[in-house]
Amino acid sequence: MMKKIKITPYKVISAIVLIVLAFFFLFPLYWILTGSVKTASVINDAVPQWFPLSPTMDNYERLLDNPALLWLFNSVAMAVLSMVLTCVTASMAGYVLAKKRFVGRKVLFGIFICAMALPKQVILIPLLREMSFLNLHDSMWAVILPTVGWPFGVFLMKQFSENIPGELLEAAKIDGAGEVRTFTEIVLPIIKPGIGALAIFTFINCWNDYFLQLIMLNSRSKLTISLGIAKLQAEMSTDFGLIMAGAALAAIPIITVFLAFQKYFTKGITMGAVKG
């Protein structure tokens, strides 16, 4: 049934407001990208140049005098490792929490949920001490391990695993498939979209978890791209051209990943919100 669409003044006004807001939200990104190709004299002028009339790659060249590509590599490596480990551990745990009846299931799940409601940043001090104790401070593992430990992934995969039909698992058992085979051949194909959602979600969160990275990583060669930009900003706070080039280098890869896997990502966010 087609609904009749009436054009009311409210609709017109809200469409206009929405478009203005969209510009407002896009503008910082536009300003990063254009700022990164402006010359120092243009940037330091009190009258802004809305569009870069004489673009230059100078800022990027100066950015590469710093180990910016290494920082980028660190960010990618860290995010990929966190993503893989989270997907493996969370899909296994989520599946049994959803589909197996075993002693302590309810208690365990309750603990996961409670931990998730607590503010993550509060545990950073003891986490740092723990990492120093384990001799992992200033290595990428100090960021990866807590990221993998965060229970959101388990929760999300449990939500997805609820959809696995019980009869299918029964049938597999009757056919004599072992637990491992049941998991790899029946469960995994069904929860694949969920794993996709979790993968992209973990990747972006790990990439952007500035506070954790800040606490755990120190030496210049271990920094991530976010930390590197923050460091550049602290060292030369008014060299906005250089900083914008850094910001562009940090933002473009992650935005590309987001746009490519947007569907999965949206699904991850919405599934994570459904009450368990």
Binding site: P28, I32, A115, N208, L214
Partner: protein
């Protein structure tokens, strides 16, 4: 064990087998979770009762907690944090509900286009977003002074981040742009799930669109609203990166937040015990706020 297997015994054996295999599946996740979430949480709580620094480790009972409430900067930080939460949470919720209710009926591509745009500041990353805002707020080369000056709204250049009266509002503005992305995604999906037949029935009965919204849609998206309130509260309470990158808590502690002060005490002054005690208090405050929201939102539900 050489038990005769009766049906009940069979059941027991089965359950035990299920339990063992379940825990084997859970083991990898549990190792990470216990090692890097539970252990630090317990350590946080325990060491909050200690005078714990690089050199010292002595039990001091509640004295960290007592000191906290006599610490003027902590009180200031608490006030600022509450201000951020009290402003940001309602604005984020109302803003994202409004945006979602406008875009969710649009055709798929347009809707996801807008959803993407509002999500962009989240994806771009705190650091990249913050440095560009810092430039826009700059007194000499920033856009704000130029635009507002040309429009005649301000007479002389304002040092947005250097002035006690404006700094925290700049922080809140940036926080808002980085906070609405997720709520919009959630609301769009929740509004899309509202039962259409109910809406049509109400329209047939002559309900206005305002009535349809408050009587039908609003109760159905209540769980989503609740979830959004809670996550936005948690995020706003933990506001840290913006402060560290923009103002370092200044000028004159006017943008000090609890999270930033914890960081300062623990990683600049190495007072881990005191930092952890503040962390515990922060966690309790967040829990109380969430509980209140559950109560209030839960009552409206009925």
């Amino acid at each position: 064990m050489n038990k005769r297997i009766k049906p009940a015994g069979m059941q027991k054996v089965l359950i035990r087998r299920e339990t063992i295999s379940a825990y084997l599946f859970l083991l990898p996740a549990l190792i990470f979770f216990a090692g890097f979430v539970i252990v630090p949480m317990v350590m946080c709580l325990v060491t909050s009762f200690f005078n714990y620094s690089m050199t010292e480790f002595a039990f001091v009972g509640f004295s960290n907690y007592v000191e906290m409430f006599q610490d003027k900067i902590f009180i200031r930080a608490l006030m600022n944090t509450v201000l951020i939460v009290v402003v940001a949470v309602p604005v984020v919720t109302v803003f994202s509900l409004w945006v979602s209710s406008v875009i969710y009926k649009m055709n798929g591509a347009v809707c996801s286009f807008f959803r993407c745009i509002f999500y962009l500041p989240v994806v771009t990353g705190t650091v990249a977003v913050t440095v560009v805002w810092k430039w826009m707020f700059n007194k000499y080369t920033g856009l704000f002074n130029y635009v507002l000056g040309s429009a005649g709204i301000i007479d002389s250049d304002v040092s947005w981040l250097g002035d006690e009266r404006t700094a925290i509002w700049c922080i809140i503005l940036i926080l808002l742009t980085t906070s609405v992305g997720q709520p919009i995604v959630l609301y769009v999906s929740a509004l899309g799930n509202v039962d259409d037949s109910l809406i049509e029935a109400a329209q047939v009965d002559g309900a206005t669109s305002r009535q349809v919204f408050w009587k039908i849609k609003w109760p159905q998206i209540m769980p989503t609203t609740l979830y959004i309130l809670v996550i936005t509260t948690i995020n706003s309470f933990q506001c840290y990166a913006l402060i560290q990158l923009l103002t370092s808590g200044g000028p004159n502690h006017s943008t000090e937040t609890i999270m930033y002060y914890i960081y300062y005490q623990a990683f600049r002054l190495y007072r881990y015990g005191y930092g952890n005690a503040m962390g515990v208090i922060l966690a309790i405050i967040i829990a109380v706020f969430s509980a209140i929201q559950f109560k209030v939102a839960g009552r409206k539900d009925e």
